[in-house]
Assembly symmetry: C2
Homo-oligomer: 350 residues x 2
Amino acid sequence: MKKRTTLKQLARELDVSISTVSKALKNSPEISQDTIDRVKAFAKLLNYRPNNIALSLKNKKTKTIGIIIPDIVHHFFTKVIKGVEKYANSNGYNVIVGLSNESFSNEVINMEMLANGSIDGFIISMSRETMQRQDYQHYTETLNEDIPLVMFDRVVAEIPCDKVIVDDTKSAEIAVNTLINKGATKIAILTTKDYVSVGRLRTKGYLEALKNHGINPIRDLIIKIDDELLYEEDHLDVLEKQVRELLLNHTDVNGIFAVNELYAVVAMKVAKEMGYEIPNDLQVIGFTDGMLSKHATPTLSTISQHGESMGSKAAELLIQRIDERVNDLPKEPTKTVVISTNLIQRGSTK
Amino acid sequence: MKKRTTLKQLARELDVSISTVSKALKNSPEISQDTIDRVKAFAKLLNYRPNNIALSLKNKKTKTIGIIIPDIVHHFFTKVIKGVEKYANSNGYNVIVGLSNESFSNEVINMEMLANGSIDGFIISMSRETMQRQDYQHYTETLNEDIPLVMFDRVVAEIPCDKVIVDDTKSAEIAVNTLINKGATKIAILTTKDYVSVGRLRTKGYLEALKNHGINPIRDLIIKIDDELLYEEDHLDVLEKQVRELLLNHTDVNGIFAVNELYAVVAMKVAKEMGYEIPNDLQVIGFTDGMLSKHATPTLSTISQHGESMGSKAAELLIQRIDERVNDLPKEPTKTVVISTNLIQRGSTK
DNA sequence: TATCAACACGAAAACGTTGTAGTAATGTTA
DNA sequence: TAACATTACTACAACGTTTTCGTGTTGATA
């Protein structure tokens, strides 16, 4: 194996000590200009570059942050990564990505793989299975080991760390309010099982909007989809069937709020097949502003979560914590940053 | 800063040497069972885990691979990452992601950030700007430093490394053949400027299919889109306008082949607005099987690139090279693996 | 009882850096 | 000219491991 140029090699060939080489490369005043020039020239010649690993070991920091997400084939998470990367890179950090694939054990394994010194801190959105099991031991252990941790989107109160979220409840309420204001009188919601925090919160917003308008919620109109296989083919059939049944049993539904864009798009598809005209007969609002929303027919009105901002913010919070830690600053209380959403109105609403 | 448990601490508290602790944890036969048990128990108590950075330094390998892609908000790349991650993880490797954002300098910076010992090898898809400038110095430098490199999708012949691609030309030819067999007689192509290798190759396939069927290509029907701002809002307006003009000037176009799914979906949208019925008046085939293809109306027939397979394969090749390098095995000649595509027929073709 | 394994452990080097604490060889001052 | 600064370097420890090469005790053998 070809070996990279090291200080030792430079030192040997230049017939000076390692320290001299190190200092010369850093323009130390201890070293004569002559030597500095010689060393630098030779270093350039041999294409010397300091070994990051050695530095990490010495400095006890890796300048790397780990982000662990449930699924990368997902526009929202992808946006978040982009935001994290951008902020991290411009602060000299690298980003290492772990995929939990919505599985508890994968999440644990990934965290363990990285928590052995490979990274200075974590940014995490919890896997579905973890939410279901409510087993947060690996999180608390990480925190106990004093490794900073920032959660985003799918968070739980039990874990005492910085968090970046959107106001799911409020956003959902705004979406449903909009539907009502635009004339929808009977509004269904396509949501997830309650253990998915964001689904639960958005459902809450839906219910609040109804209540504020004196509309009684109808159990049949609240469809909680088991999203085990979200974004998998076979899962969609189930979803389609449920929407079809809904529209069959309640032909006067004229508004649908979906907690993600895929549900919304599928709902529109089924409705169109059944002869509904969107937005005239039926108005639809989704959540998450991704590719699908922009290019569906009709284009989908949706709540934009600003994933990239969430990512940057999470990175910012994390790097602050890392600094706090390495500089032994007093620990600030954990904070939860709420990124504001906004409703993007497109073709699926009047 | 709270310090992690180290061998030294364990040694001190157990009143044995560091070596003994190290060996005990590895069940060395040199150490008595008694001591092994004591050490292990205490290590577990203090939650000891070996410091990966120290290991990396010692072993001269990081068990980390870097993947650099032009854009993460892109279904295809996302699939590739997933494939890389899967293969890498199950072989004990971590994945660190760099985003070039289609920019040359970002690509260079990212590679330099990682090529200082942080990673054992690269998996890369070239940024658009790099293809345009044809400046491959950072690649050759990386190879000169003996850092293994595998390219995928957007590759160039000038760089002597392993590659993973699909047969763009052949796949495009198959797509266009299918269009012709299904009755399309006047087929347009929505492609990119020639410097994007995949665009150029797919255009070549289009032309070959036409030639094989005795159809003369018409310059007007070959639309090369400057994809500077692909997936950005303002870019799409330009695209829409171009498609509109095409269909206006050539009302008898009855087939469109697009080199990515977004172009295809936009084309369908414009066509529908102009009163075309898909697939009866106009058949469309895209490239890349992403979210859009599955959920467009009508659903889009498309060439599936199997991004995940490409990712796994790339990771496999890279890890082979890494092994070759660290074990000083003889260097095998570089190879180019062609992942087979297949045409997924959906609603946009008859 | 001197010799030699076997056993159980420790010392030290190495991976590539950085920074502190020396240390020679000059030049300057009283 | 003895005491002291300054200059320009070098030695060494440290970061946390692993591993090779000792080494001091045992107990068994001749």
